[in-house]
Protein backbone atom coordinates (compact mmCIF):
# COMPACT_ATOMS: atom_id res chain seq x y z
CA UNK A 1 0.00 0.00 0.00
CA UNK A 2 2.75 2.38 0.99
CA UNK A 3 4.71 1.31 -2.04
CA UNK A 4 1.69 1.94 -4.20
CA UNK A 5 1.23 5.39 -2.74
CA UNK A 6 4.83 6.36 -3.23
CA UNK A 7 4.54 5.19 -6.82
CA UNK A 8 1.50 7.31 -7.30
CA UNK A 9 3.35 10.23 -5.79
CA UNK A 10 6.29 9.67 -8.10
CA UNK A 11 4.09 9.49 -11.15
CA UNK A 12 2.20 12.62 -10.26
CA UNK A 13 5.48 14.44 -9.54
CA UNK A 14 6.78 13.32 -12.90
CA UNK A 15 3.68 14.51 -14.71
CA UNK A 16 3.75 17.82 -12.89
CA UNK A 17 7.41 18.34 -13.76
CA UNK A 18 6.77 17.46 -17.39
CA UNK A 19 3.87 19.89 -17.51
CA UNK A 20 5.96 22.68 -16.04
CA UNK A 21 8.77 21.97 -18.47
CA UNK A 22 6.33 22.10 -21.38
CA UNK A 23 4.98 25.40 -20.07
CA UNK A 24 8.54 26.73 -19.80
CA UNK A 25 9.22 25.67 -23.38
CA UNK A 26 6.03 27.40 -24.45
CA UNK A 27 7.20 30.59 -22.82
CA UNK A 28 10.47 30.29 -24.71
CA UNK A 29 8.64 30.12 -28.03
CA UNK A 30 6.47 33.08 -27.11
CA UNK A 31 9.38 35.27 -26.08
CA UNK A 32 11.91 34.26 -28.70
CA UNK A 33 10.10 36.15 -31.44
CA UNK A 34 9.45 39.30 -29.43
CA UNK A 35 11.62 42.37 -29.40
CA UNK A 36 14.12 43.37 -28.17
CA UNK A 37 16.55 40.66 -29.22
CA UNK A 38 19.58 40.20 -27.01
CA UNK A 39 22.10 39.61 -29.80
CA UNK A 40 25.16 40.54 -27.83
CA UNK A 41 24.30 38.21 -25.01
CA UNK A 42 23.49 35.44 -27.50
CA UNK A 43 26.92 35.77 -29.08
CA UNK A 44 28.57 35.77 -25.68
CA UNK A 45 26.73 32.59 -24.74
CA UNK A 46 27.64 30.87 -28.01
CA UNK A 47 31.25 31.75 -27.45
CA UNK A 48 31.12 30.51 -23.86
CA UNK A 49 29.61 27.20 -24.84
CA UNK A 50 32.12 26.60 -27.58
CA UNK A 51 34.98 27.70 -25.42
CA UNK A 52 33.96 25.56 -22.49
CA UNK A 53 33.41 22.30 -24.31
CA UNK A 54 35.48 22.36 -27.50
CA UNK A 55 38.55 20.64 -26.11
CA UNK A 56 36.61 18.16 -24.04
CA UNK A 57 34.41 17.16 -26.96
CA UNK A 58 37.39 16.91 -29.29
CA UNK A 59 39.46 14.73 -26.99
CA UNK A 60 36.56 12.42 -26.21
CA UNK A 61 35.60 12.16 -29.86
CA UNK A 62 39.14 11.32 -30.88
CA UNK A 63 39.48 8.61 -28.26
CA UNK A 64 36.10 7.10 -29.08
CA UNK A 65 36.96 6.87 -32.79
CA UNK A 66 40.31 5.36 -31.94
CA UNK A 67 39.02 2.81 -29.44
CA UNK A 68 36.01 1.90 -31.52
CA UNK A 69 38.19 1.08 -34.52
CA UNK A 70 40.80 -0.76 -32.45
CA UNK A 71 38.13 -2.96 -30.96
CA UNK A 72 36.14 -3.76 -34.06
CA UNK A 73 39.12 -4.28 -36.34
CA UNK A 74 40.08 -7.81 -35.22
CA UNK A 75 36.49 -9.07 -35.57
CA UNK A 76 36.12 -7.49 -38.99
CA UNK A 77 39.37 -9.10 -40.12
CA UNK A 78 38.23 -12.44 -38.81
CA UNK A 79 35.16 -12.10 -40.99
CA UNK A 80 37.28 -10.92 -43.87
CA UNK A 81 35.40 -7.61 -43.92
CA UNK A 82 38.06 -5.11 -43.04
CA UNK A 83 37.36 -3.25 -46.26
CA UNK A 84 33.99 -2.39 -44.75
CA UNK A 85 35.52 -0.93 -41.66
CA UNK A 86 35.55 2.75 -42.74
CA UNK A 87 31.91 2.66 -43.77
CA UNK A 88 30.83 0.82 -40.67
CA UNK A 89 32.72 3.18 -38.37
CA UNK A 90 31.57 6.18 -40.38
CA UNK A 91 27.90 5.26 -40.20
CA UNK A 92 28.05 4.43 -36.50
CA UNK A 93 29.81 7.62 -35.60
CA UNK A 94 27.80 9.99 -37.74
CA UNK A 95 24.43 8.45 -37.05
CA UNK A 96 24.69 7.65 -33.39
CA UNK A 97 27.90 7.76 -31.45
CA UNK A 98 29.02 11.27 -32.33
CA UNK A 99 25.71 12.98 -31.61
CA UNK A 100 24.82 11.13 -28.43
CA UNK A 101 28.27 11.20 -26.84
CA UNK A 102 28.70 14.89 -27.61
CA UNK A 103 25.24 15.66 -26.30
CA UNK A 104 25.83 13.72 -23.10
CA UNK A 105 29.15 15.45 -22.50
CA UNK A 106 27.53 18.81 -23.11
CA UNK A 107 24.68 17.90 -20.76
CA UNK A 108 27.29 17.36 -18.09
CA UNK A 109 29.40 20.33 -18.98
CA UNK A 110 26.98 22.95 -20.25
CA UNK A 111 23.62 21.84 -18.87
CA UNK A 112 24.87 21.66 -15.31
CA UNK A 113 26.73 24.95 -15.73
CA UNK A 114 23.57 26.69 -16.90
CA UNK A 115 21.56 25.14 -14.07
CA UNK A 116 24.06 26.26 -11.46
CA UNK A 117 24.58 29.72 -12.91
CA UNK A 118 20.93 30.64 -13.30
CA UNK A 119 20.09 28.89 -10.03
CA UNK A 120 22.57 30.98 -8.09
CA UNK A 121 21.32 34.11 -9.81
CA UNK A 122 17.86 33.16 -8.64
CA UNK A 123 18.76 32.57 -5.01
CA UNK A 124 20.92 35.69 -4.74
CA UNK A 125 18.07 37.79 -6.20
CA UNK A 126 20.08 38.76 -9.28
CA UNK A 127 17.15 37.73 -11.46
CA UNK A 128 14.85 40.02 -9.45
CA UNK A 129 17.41 42.80 -9.72
CA UNK A 130 17.44 42.34 -13.48
CA UNK A 131 13.70 42.58 -13.62
CA UNK A 132 13.63 45.88 -11.75
CA UNK A 133 16.42 47.11 -14.02
CA UNK A 134 13.96 46.97 -16.87
CA UNK A 135 15.27 43.79 -18.41
CA UNK A 136 13.16 40.76 -19.03
CA UNK A 137 15.35 38.13 -17.33
CA UNK A 138 13.65 35.30 -19.16
CA UNK A 139 14.68 36.82 -22.44
CA UNK A 140 18.12 37.91 -21.33
CA UNK A 141 19.13 34.72 -19.52
CA UNK A 142 16.92 31.89 -20.74
CA UNK A 143 16.14 32.64 -24.37
CA UNK A 144 19.76 33.45 -25.20
CA UNK A 145 21.07 30.29 -23.56
CA UNK A 146 18.55 27.98 -25.18
CA UNK A 147 19.23 29.52 -28.58
CA UNK A 148 22.95 29.26 -28.00
CA UNK A 149 22.87 25.56 -27.13
CA UNK A 150 20.50 24.85 -30.01
CA UNK A 151 22.94 26.45 -32.42
CA UNK A 152 26.20 25.30 -30.89
CA UNK A 153 25.57 21.62 -30.11
CA UNK A 154 25.13 20.71 -33.82
CA UNK A 155 28.43 22.44 -34.59
CA UNK A 156 30.14 20.60 -31.77
CA UNK A 157 28.69 17.33 -33.04
CA UNK A 158 30.02 17.93 -36.54
CA UNK A 159 33.42 18.65 -35.10
CA UNK A 160 33.30 15.65 -32.83
CA UNK A 161 32.29 13.38 -35.75
CA UNK A 162 35.22 14.63 -37.74
CA UNK A 163 37.72 14.19 -34.93
CA UNK A 164 36.39 10.70 -34.17
CA UNK A 165 36.85 9.74 -37.81
CA UNK A 166 40.37 11.10 -37.64
CA UNK A 167 41.02 8.85 -34.65
CA UNK A 168 39.62 5.93 -36.53
CA UNK A 169 41.72 6.72 -39.59
CA UNK A 170 44.82 6.92 -37.42
CA UNK A 171 44.31 3.31 -36.34
CA UNK A 172 43.62 2.25 -39.90
CA UNK A 173 46.69 4.00 -41.23
CA UNK A 174 48.94 2.44 -38.62
CA UNK A 175 47.51 -1.04 -38.63
CA UNK A 176 46.24 -1.35 -42.19
CA UNK A 177 48.27 1.23 -44.08
CA UNK A 178 45.12 3.00 -45.32
CA UNK A 179 45.62 6.46 -46.80
CA UNK A 180 43.73 9.49 -45.53
CA UNK A 181 41.93 10.12 -48.80
CA UNK A 182 40.99 6.52 -49.34
CA UNK A 183 39.62 6.29 -45.81
CA UNK A 184 37.47 9.40 -46.03
CA UNK A 185 36.37 8.53 -49.52
CA UNK A 186 35.07 5.23 -48.20
CA UNK A 187 33.32 6.96 -45.35
CA UNK A 188 31.57 9.54 -47.52
CA UNK A 189 30.57 7.06 -50.18
CA UNK A 190 28.78 4.97 -47.62
CA UNK A 191 26.95 7.87 -46.03
CA UNK A 192 23.81 9.02 -47.80
CA UNK A 193 21.20 11.64 -47.03
CA UNK A 194 19.12 9.18 -45.05
CA UNK A 195 22.05 8.98 -42.66
CA UNK A 196 22.97 12.63 -42.57
CA UNK A 197 19.66 14.43 -42.36
CA UNK A 198 18.07 12.70 -39.36
CA UNK A 199 21.31 12.69 -37.43
CA UNK A 200 21.82 16.41 -38.08
CA UNK A 201 18.24 17.34 -37.30
CA UNK A 202 18.29 15.50 -34.02
CA UNK A 203 21.37 17.38 -32.84
CA UNK A 204 19.34 20.60 -32.90
CA UNK A 205 16.81 18.92 -30.63
CA UNK A 206 19.64 17.72 -28.41
CA UNK A 207 20.96 21.25 -28.11
CA UNK A 208 17.50 22.61 -27.43
CA UNK A 209 16.93 20.01 -24.69
CA UNK A 210 20.25 20.76 -22.99
CA UNK A 211 19.54 24.48 -22.83
CA UNK A 212 15.89 24.08 -21.95
CA UNK A 213 16.30 21.68 -19.04
CA UNK A 214 19.34 23.52 -17.64
CA UNK A 215 17.52 26.85 -17.73
CA UNK A 216 14.31 25.34 -16.38
CA UNK A 217 16.10 23.84 -13.40
CA UNK A 218 18.02 27.00 -12.63
CA UNK A 219 15.15 29.40 -13.16
CA UNK A 220 12.90 27.47 -10.80
CA UNK A 221 15.65 26.89 -8.29
CA UNK A 222 14.30 26.66 -4.75
CA UNK A 223 15.76 29.10 -2.30
CA UNK A 224 18.96 28.36 -0.45
CA UNK A 225 22.39 27.51 -1.73
CA UNK A 226 21.62 23.80 -1.47
CA UNK A 227 19.05 24.41 -4.17
CA UNK A 228 21.76 25.43 -6.62
CA UNK A 229 23.48 22.04 -6.31
CA UNK A 230 20.19 20.28 -6.77
CA UNK A 231 19.45 22.39 -9.83
CA UNK A 232 22.80 21.59 -11.43
CA UNK A 233 22.61 17.93 -10.63
CA UNK A 234 19.03 17.33 -11.70
CA UNK A 235 19.70 19.30 -14.88
CA UNK A 236 22.27 16.70 -15.91
CA UNK A 237 20.18 13.70 -14.93
CA UNK A 238 16.99 14.89 -16.57
CA UNK A 239 18.73 16.19 -19.68
CA UNK A 240 20.38 12.80 -20.19
CA UNK A 241 17.02 11.10 -19.95
CA UNK A 242 15.46 13.55 -22.38
CA UNK A 243 18.39 13.03 -24.78
CA UNK A 244 17.80 9.29 -24.94
CA UNK A 245 14.10 9.82 -25.47
CA UNK A 246 14.79 12.22 -28.34
CA UNK A 247 17.29 9.76 -29.78
CA UNK A 248 14.75 6.96 -29.65
CA UNK A 249 11.97 9.05 -31.18
CA UNK A 250 14.27 10.30 -33.93
CA UNK A 251 15.13 6.74 -34.91
CA UNK A 252 11.46 5.83 -35.06
CA UNK A 253 10.61 8.90 -37.11
CA UNK A 254 13.48 8.58 -39.54
CA UNK A 255 12.64 4.90 -39.94
CA UNK A 256 9.16 5.90 -41.01
CA UNK A 257 10.30 8.58 -43.42
CA UNK A 258 13.33 7.08 -45.08
Amino acid sequence: MILFQSWRQNISDFLEETGELAFFAGRFFREVTRRPFEFKELLRQCYNIGNRSLLLVAVTGFIIGLVFTLQSRPKMMELGAEAWLPSMVGISIVREIGPIITALICAGRIGSGIGAEIGSMRVTEQIDAMEVSGTNPFKYLVVTRILATTLMIPLLVVMSDFVALMGSWLVESIKGDVSFFYYFDEVFVSLDFADLIPSTVKTFFFGFAIGLVGCFKGYNCKHGTAGVGVAANSAVVETSMVLFIIDFVSVLVSDLIF
Binding site: E117, M121, E125, Q126, D128, M130, V132, S133, T135
Partner: protein, 250 residues
Protein backbone atom coordinates in the same frame (compact mmCIF):
# COMPACT_ATOMS: atom_id res chain seq x y z
CA UNK B 1 2.35 63.73 11.37
CA UNK B 2 -0.05 66.50 10.48
CA UNK B 3 2.64 68.17 8.45
CA UNK B 4 3.45 65.04 6.44
CA UNK B 5 -0.21 64.48 5.59
CA UNK B 6 -0.34 67.77 3.80
CA UNK B 7 2.41 66.46 1.52
CA UNK B 8 1.89 64.50 -1.64
CA UNK B 9 1.72 60.75 -1.26
CA UNK B 10 4.08 58.98 -3.71
CA UNK B 11 3.26 55.42 -2.75
CA UNK B 12 -0.01 54.32 -1.34
CA UNK B 13 -0.92 50.76 -0.48
CA UNK B 14 -4.43 49.80 0.56
CA UNK B 15 -5.57 46.50 2.00
CA UNK B 16 -2.67 44.50 0.55
CA UNK B 17 -3.10 40.75 0.92
CA UNK B 18 -0.68 38.02 0.03
CA UNK B 19 -0.88 34.29 0.60
CA UNK B 20 1.56 31.55 -0.24
CA UNK B 21 -0.84 28.62 -0.54
CA UNK B 22 -2.56 28.49 2.84
CA UNK B 23 0.16 30.55 4.48
CA UNK B 24 -1.01 34.10 5.07
CA UNK B 25 1.81 36.65 4.91
CA UNK B 26 0.06 39.99 4.42
CA UNK B 27 -3.48 40.44 5.64
CA UNK B 28 -4.68 43.88 4.70
CA UNK B 29 -1.55 46.01 4.94
CA UNK B 30 -1.86 49.78 4.42
CA UNK B 31 0.95 52.22 3.80
CA UNK B 32 1.48 55.77 2.60
CA UNK B 33 4.84 57.16 1.68
CA UNK B 34 4.96 60.94 1.40
CA UNK B 35 7.27 62.93 -0.78
CA UNK B 36 10.71 63.40 0.72
CA UNK B 37 10.24 61.32 3.84
CA UNK B 38 12.08 58.29 5.17
CA UNK B 39 9.68 55.64 6.29
CA UNK B 40 11.13 52.81 8.34
CA UNK B 41 9.36 49.47 8.46
CA UNK B 42 10.18 47.06 11.22
CA UNK B 43 8.92 43.56 11.73
CA UNK B 44 10.11 40.18 12.88
CA UNK B 45 12.05 37.96 10.53
CA UNK B 46 9.56 36.20 8.29
CA UNK B 47 6.80 38.74 8.91
CA UNK B 48 6.61 39.55 5.21
CA UNK B 49 8.60 42.76 4.89
CA UNK B 50 10.54 41.62 1.83
CA UNK B 51 7.38 40.18 0.30
CA UNK B 52 5.65 43.53 0.81
CA UNK B 53 8.26 45.63 -0.99
CA UNK B 54 8.57 43.02 -3.72
CA UNK B 55 4.83 43.36 -4.27
CA UNK B 56 5.47 47.09 -4.60
CA UNK B 57 7.63 46.71 -7.69
CA UNK B 58 5.65 43.82 -9.11
CA UNK B 59 8.29 41.15 -8.44
CA UNK B 60 5.76 39.19 -6.39
CA UNK B 61 2.13 39.26 -7.52
CA UNK B 62 -0.27 40.27 -4.75
CA UNK B 63 -3.59 38.57 -4.14
CA UNK B 64 -5.70 41.53 -3.15
CA UNK B 65 -5.64 45.26 -2.54
CA UNK B 66 -4.33 48.22 -4.51
CA UNK B 67 -0.85 49.62 -4.94
CA UNK B 68 -0.46 53.09 -6.32
CA UNK B 69 2.97 54.43 -7.19
CA UNK B 70 3.31 58.05 -8.29
CA UNK B 71 -0.23 58.09 -9.54
CA UNK B 72 -0.05 54.79 -11.40
CA UNK B 73 -2.03 51.78 -10.30
CA UNK B 74 0.22 48.72 -10.42
CA UNK B 75 -2.59 46.38 -11.47
CA UNK B 76 -3.54 48.54 -14.42
CA UNK B 77 0.00 49.48 -15.43
CA UNK B 78 0.96 48.76 -19.02
CA UNK B 79 4.53 48.25 -20.17
CA UNK B 80 5.23 51.99 -20.31
CA UNK B 81 3.91 52.57 -16.81
CA UNK B 82 5.91 49.64 -15.53
CA UNK B 83 9.04 51.03 -17.15
CA UNK B 84 8.33 54.41 -15.59
CA UNK B 85 7.78 52.88 -12.16
CA UNK B 86 10.95 50.85 -12.37
CA UNK B 87 13.04 53.84 -13.37
CA UNK B 88 11.65 55.98 -10.60
CA UNK B 89 11.72 53.32 -7.90
CA UNK B 90 15.17 52.07 -6.95
CA UNK B 91 15.44 48.79 -5.13
CA UNK B 92 18.32 47.78 -2.87
CA UNK B 93 18.18 44.05 -2.35
CA UNK B 94 18.75 42.33 0.96
CA UNK B 95 21.83 40.51 -0.35
CA UNK B 96 23.06 43.30 -2.69
CA UNK B 97 22.29 41.12 -5.75
CA UNK B 98 25.21 42.36 -7.84
CA UNK B 99 25.56 40.49 -11.13
CA UNK B 100 28.55 38.35 -10.36
CA UNK B 101 29.56 37.73 -13.96
CA UNK B 102 29.98 41.46 -14.58
CA UNK B 103 32.44 44.05 -13.36
CA UNK B 104 31.33 46.92 -11.16
CA UNK B 105 31.23 49.17 -14.21
CA UNK B 106 29.04 46.74 -16.14
CA UNK B 107 26.80 46.31 -13.12
CA UNK B 108 26.19 50.02 -13.03
CA UNK B 109 25.79 50.39 -16.76
CA UNK B 110 23.23 47.62 -16.92
CA UNK B 111 20.17 49.59 -15.72
CA UNK B 112 21.39 52.63 -17.63
CA UNK B 113 21.46 50.79 -20.94
CA UNK B 114 18.08 49.25 -20.29
CA UNK B 115 16.07 52.24 -19.15
CA UNK B 116 16.50 54.50 -22.10
CA UNK B 117 13.36 56.47 -21.28
CA UNK B 118 14.97 58.77 -18.76
CA UNK B 119 18.42 59.42 -20.17
CA UNK B 120 18.04 58.29 -23.77
CA UNK B 121 20.71 56.21 -25.50
CA UNK B 122 24.02 56.89 -23.86
CA UNK B 123 27.26 56.56 -25.81
CA UNK B 124 29.69 56.92 -22.97
CA UNK B 125 28.27 55.97 -19.61
CA UNK B 126 31.56 56.43 -17.76
CA UNK B 127 30.83 59.91 -16.32
CA UNK B 128 27.49 58.74 -14.91
CA UNK B 129 29.05 55.56 -13.55
CA UNK B 130 31.82 57.55 -11.91
CA UNK B 131 29.38 60.01 -10.45
CA UNK B 132 27.33 57.24 -8.86
CA UNK B 133 30.49 55.59 -7.54
CA UNK B 134 31.69 58.91 -6.14
CA UNK B 135 28.39 59.24 -4.28
CA UNK B 136 29.14 56.04 -2.42
CA UNK B 137 32.87 56.71 -2.13
CA UNK B 138 34.12 53.80 -4.24
CA UNK B 139 35.48 55.23 -7.47
CA UNK B 140 38.50 52.96 -7.28
CA UNK B 141 36.39 49.83 -7.46
CA UNK B 142 35.16 50.50 -10.99
CA UNK B 143 36.98 47.62 -12.63
CA UNK B 144 36.69 45.05 -9.86
CA UNK B 145 34.51 41.97 -9.94
CA UNK B 146 31.85 41.59 -7.22
CA UNK B 147 33.72 38.66 -5.66
CA UNK B 148 36.63 41.00 -4.98
CA UNK B 149 34.47 43.28 -2.82
CA UNK B 150 33.72 43.05 0.89
CA UNK B 151 30.15 42.86 2.13
CA UNK B 152 30.03 46.55 2.93
CA UNK B 153 31.50 47.49 -0.44
CA UNK B 154 28.96 45.30 -2.20
CA UNK B 155 26.19 47.10 -0.39
CA UNK B 156 27.59 50.45 -1.52
CA UNK B 157 28.00 49.34 -5.12
CA UNK B 158 24.44 48.04 -5.08
CA UNK B 159 23.38 51.43 -3.79
CA UNK B 160 25.33 53.12 -6.57
CA UNK B 161 23.60 50.87 -9.10
CA UNK B 162 20.28 52.02 -7.68
CA UNK B 163 21.33 55.68 -7.65
CA UNK B 164 22.53 55.77 -11.21
CA UNK B 165 19.00 56.17 -12.55
CA UNK B 166 18.34 59.01 -10.08
CA UNK B 167 15.14 57.44 -8.79
CA UNK B 168 12.53 59.48 -6.93
CA UNK B 169 11.92 56.64 -4.49
CA UNK B 170 14.37 54.14 -3.05
CA UNK B 171 13.35 50.93 -1.33
CA UNK B 172 15.98 49.53 1.00
CA UNK B 173 15.63 45.91 2.10
CA UNK B 174 17.70 45.57 5.28
CA UNK B 175 20.59 47.77 4.14
CA UNK B 176 22.69 47.13 7.25
CA UNK B 177 22.04 43.47 7.99
CA UNK B 178 25.18 41.36 8.09
CA UNK B 179 27.53 44.34 8.45
CA UNK B 180 29.56 45.32 11.47
CA UNK B 181 28.26 48.30 13.52
CA UNK B 182 30.79 50.76 12.10
CA UNK B 183 30.12 49.86 8.48
CA UNK B 184 26.37 49.89 9.22
CA UNK B 185 26.71 53.37 10.56
CA UNK B 186 28.55 54.45 7.42
CA UNK B 187 25.87 52.99 5.20
CA UNK B 188 23.11 54.66 7.17
CA UNK B 189 24.87 58.00 6.99
CA UNK B 190 25.33 57.51 3.30
CA UNK B 191 21.62 56.82 2.91
CA UNK B 192 20.78 59.97 4.81
CA UNK B 193 23.16 62.04 2.71
CA UNK B 194 21.68 60.68 -0.50
CA UNK B 195 18.22 61.40 0.78
CA UNK B 196 19.14 65.02 1.41
CA UNK B 197 21.16 65.46 -1.76
CA UNK B 198 18.67 63.97 -4.21
CA UNK B 199 15.46 64.64 -2.22
CA UNK B 200 14.38 61.05 -2.58
CA UNK B 201 11.59 59.44 -0.63
CA UNK B 202 12.52 56.12 0.85
CA UNK B 203 11.16 53.04 2.51
CA UNK B 204 13.73 51.36 4.72
CA UNK B 205 13.23 47.88 6.07
CA UNK B 206 15.45 47.17 9.02
CA UNK B 207 15.90 45.32 12.29
CA UNK B 208 18.50 47.82 13.36
CA UNK B 209 17.10 50.14 16.06
CA UNK B 210 20.03 52.56 15.77
CA UNK B 211 19.50 52.82 12.06
CA UNK B 212 15.79 53.47 12.60
CA UNK B 213 16.45 56.13 15.22
CA UNK B 214 18.90 57.93 12.98
CA UNK B 215 17.00 57.90 9.73
CA UNK B 216 13.26 57.48 10.39
CA UNK B 217 10.89 60.36 9.88
CA UNK B 218 8.08 57.95 10.55
CA UNK B 219 7.84 54.23 11.31
CA UNK B 220 5.45 51.38 10.69
CA UNK B 221 5.56 48.12 12.61
CA UNK B 222 4.51 45.13 10.56
CA UNK B 223 3.02 42.49 12.83
CA UNK B 224 0.71 39.63 11.82
CA UNK B 225 0.40 40.89 8.28
CA UNK B 226 -0.93 44.34 9.13
CA UNK B 227 0.50 47.74 10.00
CA UNK B 228 0.23 47.16 13.71
CA UNK B 229 1.53 50.54 14.81
CA UNK B 230 2.54 53.77 13.13
CA UNK B 231 4.30 56.86 14.42
CA UNK B 232 7.61 58.58 14.93
CA UNK B 233 10.49 56.76 16.56
CA UNK B 234 9.93 58.62 19.84
CA UNK B 235 6.21 57.86 19.86
CA UNK B 236 6.68 54.13 19.32
CA UNK B 237 9.63 53.94 21.67
CA UNK B 238 7.47 55.42 24.41
CA UNK B 239 4.61 52.98 23.82
CA UNK B 240 3.71 50.54 26.58
CA UNK B 241 2.26 47.89 24.25
CA UNK B 242 4.44 44.80 24.79
CA UNK B 243 4.35 43.88 21.10
CA UNK B 244 5.75 47.30 20.22
CA UNK B 245 8.19 47.34 23.10
CA UNK B 246 9.64 44.03 21.87
CA UNK B 247 11.22 45.88 18.94
CA UNK B 248 12.95 48.52 21.01
CA UNK B 249 14.24 46.93 24.18
CA UNK B 250 17.55 45.37 23.30
Amino acid sequence: MAQSESKKSVISIRNLKKYFGQHMVLDGFDLDLYEGESLVIMGKSGSGKSVMIKCLVGLVPHDNGTINIMGRDLDLADENDMDYIRTEVGFLFQGSALYDSMTVRENLEFPLRRHTRKFGEIDDATPLVLEALRDVGLEDAIDLMPEELSGGMKRRIALARTLILKPAIILYDEPTTGLDPITSKEIVMLMKRIQEQYKTSSIIITHDVDCARYIADRMILLVDGINYAEGTFAQLDASTDPKIQAFFKT
